[in-house]
């Protein structure tokens, strides 16, 4: 009995020691934590697959093969990683500043459409002018779309989660209307729900032969690094951090939290809009309705996995890109449902949320 007590005390002490020492290596801590989350998520998915009498070994094998085990798989993973980088980073930056931007999906759409519009309106421009112009159009469109919910929040106290979510549907359906009527490809009645192709001058350069990996990936990685530096080493980054973690404190030391929220949302919307442009100029080459298949929402999972850390977004978006690529693989090769990956994402979200709620409650009790 006494021995048991001593043992228990030792375990508690060891745990506290590990926790304390890990606090200083927060990035490694985060990595280990997320690895654990993924292992548990895969275990739960396995249980689900066994219960539904599916051959999980085969599914996992194909999933890995079409995402990381073959060159083709890796190419495809990187292709999907690209838009997820932008979407994940957009969500992460907003979260950092304490704003919940659930409207990344809509911002991707308006950005994508604006960039397409620029390309088909000024097709005569050279590559050097056309690509920056279409990026600029996307940034403006995306940031305006992100600005609306935050404006509504401070003018009318409307919750930005609801408004930004609702604006997604407006963006999706409005752009669909645009390509059905005013911008339908000439000679069609809009049934293709797509614009004409953009001029070749606007295509982004390919990084790997026979793949859809473009220079968009480089732009995304570059943005992640820039955002990391911004958060870590600038006054604005410091203020974003303070507002995001304790708004009352930030107000008390002389920051205007509302202004920071506006700035953060504009940055977030710009990144999302740019993501839409990269998808069009890199892969789609025309605006086609519902092209994102929920990439904006996947961005939320990326950001959650990365704990809103811009560098973490790089790793998380590769993982999510690989999953996406793998999901197409299992659907194509063995006819298993692509939704399996959505289930996995759901489990991941649930696990991280549970963990955070638990930690939050622990904090509440202790203070």
């Amino acid at each position: 009995m006494v021995l048991k007590l001593i043992m228990e005390r030792k375990i508690v002490k060891a745990k506290a020691f590990i926790e304390n020492s890990l606090k200083y290596f927060s990035f490694i801590h985060l990595l280990l934590n997320r690895l654990l989350v993924l292992i548990i998520a895969f275990l739960l998915l396995t249980v689900l697959l066994i219960l539904t009498k599916q051959n999980f070994l085969e599914i996992y094998y194909i999933l890995a093969k079409s995402s990381i085990l073959t060159l083709g798989g890796i190419k495809s993973s990187l292709r999907w990683m690209t838009p997820l980088l932008f979407a994940g980073l957009a969500v992460a930056i907003a979260f950092k500043g304490g704003v919940f931007n659930i409207g990344v999906e809509g911002q991707l759409y308006v950005g994508a459409f604006a960039s397409t519009w620029a390309c088909i309106t000024f097709p005569f421009l050279s590559k050097i002018l056309l690509i920056p112009l279409s990026f600029l159009a996307a940034i403006i469109a995306g940031s305006i779309w992100a600005f609306i919910p935050i404006l509504l929040k401070f003018k009318f106290k409307a919750n930005e989660i609801i408004t930004s979510l609702m604006l997604n549907y407006i963006a999706i359906l409005f752009t669909e209307w645009l390509v059905r009527y005013p911008y339908a490809a000439p000679g069609t009645a809009g049934e293709a729900v797509a614009t004409v192709n953009i001029p070749e001058a606007a295509h982004l350069a390919k990084l790997m032969q026979g793949s859809q990996v473009t220079s968009g990936l480089i732009i995304g990685l570059f943005l992640c690094i820039i955002m990391f530096l911004l958060i870590k080493w600038t006054k604005l980054g410091y203020m974003i951090n303070q507002v995001g973690t304790n708004a009352i404190f930030s107000k008390y030391i002389g920051i205007n939290p509302a202004r920071i929220s506006y700035i953060v949302m504009i940055i977030s919307g710009s990144i999302a809009g740019l993501g839409g442009a990269v998808e069009i100029l890199g892969v789609q080459w025309r605006y086609i309705t519902k092209f994102t298949i929920g990439l904006g929402f996947d961005g939320i999972v990326v950001s959650l996995l990365a704990n809103n850390n811009p560098l973490g977004v790089v790793i998380a978006s590769f993982f999510m890109g690989a999953l996406k690529s793998g999901s197409f693989g299992i659907e194509r090769r063995i006819g298993a449902s692509r939704a399996l990956v959505t289930v996995l994402q759901g489990i991941i979200i649930a696990l991280i949320t549970i963990q955070q709620v638990y930690m939050y409650r622990k904090k509440e009790i202790s203070s």
Binding site: T234, Y238, Q242, F249, K251, Y252, G254, I255, S367
Partner: protein, 507 residues
């Protein structure tokens, strides 16, 4: 008294990471009596009641109910023991009827359908026997706050408890409603219920109680029969005369007026005016102490000064410039430093490192720590270590999370940040609240030092001892107004107490 006590709390200890909330508390109460627990916010009375009600578990100590030792692990256990709590904020569904709200969570059955009729009869009986003014089919939305509270009491009676805890029940009531509540409490006590009444409004406590217990900084200092004590004695116990060492102040002639508040009014909840027509002045090298029982407008005054709350009427001048419409950054730049009462949530950011907290003002309000757009981390570290040393803050590393520090060291971080920003005016609100004696003395010495270097200080505290010790001039606040003004040489606690209670006023 030979009767078996209905509640006995024996040697209750409850520690929180940064404070001890209940320090060997012994508390006894008997049926048919109304027992009050008074104390300032944070004295530990809510923690004690949460332990009795099963919301918190004590680290040490025992609970006896009607002479039998019980383990209360949850509110459900407490209700089984006959203990019920009437919460300060009412938890009711506005669109359901009174009846539906009362039977919620404990639905009576009549075969397989809900036994509404039976419950209705039962509750109506309770209503009649206690003279409640309620009709069960009315919706909660249509009720006044006083009636909502009656519903809450009814809920407890219906659950069948005979020990009722009222947590600051009068804080939301008008005086008429308070009177009615007290009638109900008295009639309940006469019928054999045990009533525990938590409050910091002393006049009400004296109206209603049979016994009064006083808590301060986690300790229960004593339980007195109402007839054997006076409000002055209770105030003295509540506010305390700690054994801290005297602090020597140098002579310093006051200089120019730094802060002038002119007929300030501030709006509160439900269109009340927690601050009414308040005027005061603070000069250089002068500490103005504001004494008062907590909840008399101190918080609202401070919020208005620092810019967390809008001014309703009147003007605030700093250096003869009206700052009514200045935002926080502008006020900071005018030279206002501020030590808030809540050092964990307002005064520091627990999710940041020590150095990020230390340099917050310098980073936000100036560009002295920057190289162009980039933060100069070397300079930041220099300033950080410098402040850590000169304010004697105990840290392993300036990059460690501030969350690791003790309350006293967190307060030192706050002081270091505020005082090193070259302010002219220091507003200290409950600056030593919850600190141990060493840290308390340290903070007080820093405030005195700030006075010598030319600051004007507005010291707002519920700790009368602190006010008497530090201030050059003492103002007493009661119901949002200054009711007395004393110079520090001539004043004693006994002179101030009646002003604090609102029994006397000079103006």
């Amino acid at each position: 008294m030979k009767e078996i006590p209905s509640v006995e709390l024996i040697n209750i200890v409850k520690r929180f990471p940064k404070a001890i909330a209940n320090d060997h508390v012994n508390f006894v109460c008997y049926p048919k009596l109304i027992h009050s627990v008074v104390g300032e916010n944070g004295a530990g009375k809510t923690t004690l009641m949460n332990i009795l009600y099963g919301m918190l578990q004590p680290d040490n100590g025992a609970i006896k109910i009607k002479g039998k030792e019980k383990k209360i692990n949850s509110p459900a256990d407490a209700i089984n023991c006959g203990i019920n709590m009437v919460h300060q904020y009412m938890l009711q569904m506005p669109d359901l009827t009174i009846l539906e709200n009362i039977i919620m969570g404990q639905i009576p059955r009549d075969g397989i359908i809900i036994g509404k009729k039976k419950a209705e009869d039962e509750i109506n009986k309770i209503i009649e026997s206690h003279n409640f003014n309620l009709k069960l089919e009315k919706k909660i939305r249509e009720l006044s706050i006083g009636q909502m509270q009656q519903v809450e009491i009814l809920k407890c009676l219906y659950k069948g408890g005979d020990i009722l805890i009222f947590d600051e029940p009068t804080s939301v009531l008008t005086s008429m409603e308070t009177k009615r509540l007290f009638n109900i409490l008295r009639s309940l006590a006469n019928k054999g219920y045990t009533i525990i009444f938590i409050s910091h409004k002393l006049n009400e406590v004296f109206q209603i109680s049979d016994y009064i217990s006083v808590m301060r900084t986690g300790k229960l200092l004593g339980t007195m029969k109402k007839e054997d004590t006076t409000p002055n004695e209770i105030v003295r116990l509540m506010i305390g005369r700690s054994m801290s060492s005297r602090i020597v102040k140098k002579e310093a002639p006051p200089g120019n007026v730094i802060l002038r508040i002119d007929k300030l009014s501030v709006k509160g909840l439900h269109n009340t005016l927690p601050i009414k027509n308040l005027s005061l002045e603070v000069r250089e090298r002068e500490i103005i102490g504001i004494a008062g029982v907590e909840g008399n407008g101190q918080k609202e005054l401070v919020d208005a000064l620092i810019g967390l709350r809008k001014v309703h009427k009147g003007k605030i001048y700093v250096d003869n410039i009206c700052i009514n419409n200045f935002d926080n950054a502008q006020r900071r730049k005018m030279g206002i430093a501020f030590i808030p009462d809540d050092r964990i949530n307002i005064g520091s950011n627990m999710d940041s490192s020590v150095v990020e907290n230390l340099c917050a003002l310098k980073l936000v309000l100036s560009s002295q720590l920057q190289n162009g757009l980039i933060i100069n981390s070397k300079k930041v570290a220099e300033v950080g270590w410098d402040l850590v040393q000169s304010y004697n803050i105990k840290v392993k590393d300036i990059y460690e999370p501030i969350n690791n520090l003790s309350g006293g060291n967190i307060q030192k971080v706050l002081l270091a940040r505020e005082l090193s920003a070259n302010p002219k005016l220091l507003i200290a609100y409950q600056a030593t609240y919850g600190l141990d004696i060493a840290a308390t003395n340290y903070v007080r010495k820093q405030i005195i030092k700030a006075r010598e270097t030319g600051f004007g200080t507005l010291l707002i505290s519920a700790d009368l001892d602190e006010i008497l010790m530090l201030s050059d001039k003492i103002l007493v606040i009661s119901t949002g107004q200054i009711v007395g003004s004393f110079s520090s040489e001539e004043v004693t606690e006994d002179m101030i107490a009646p002003f604090m209670l609102g029994l006397k006023r000079q103006f």
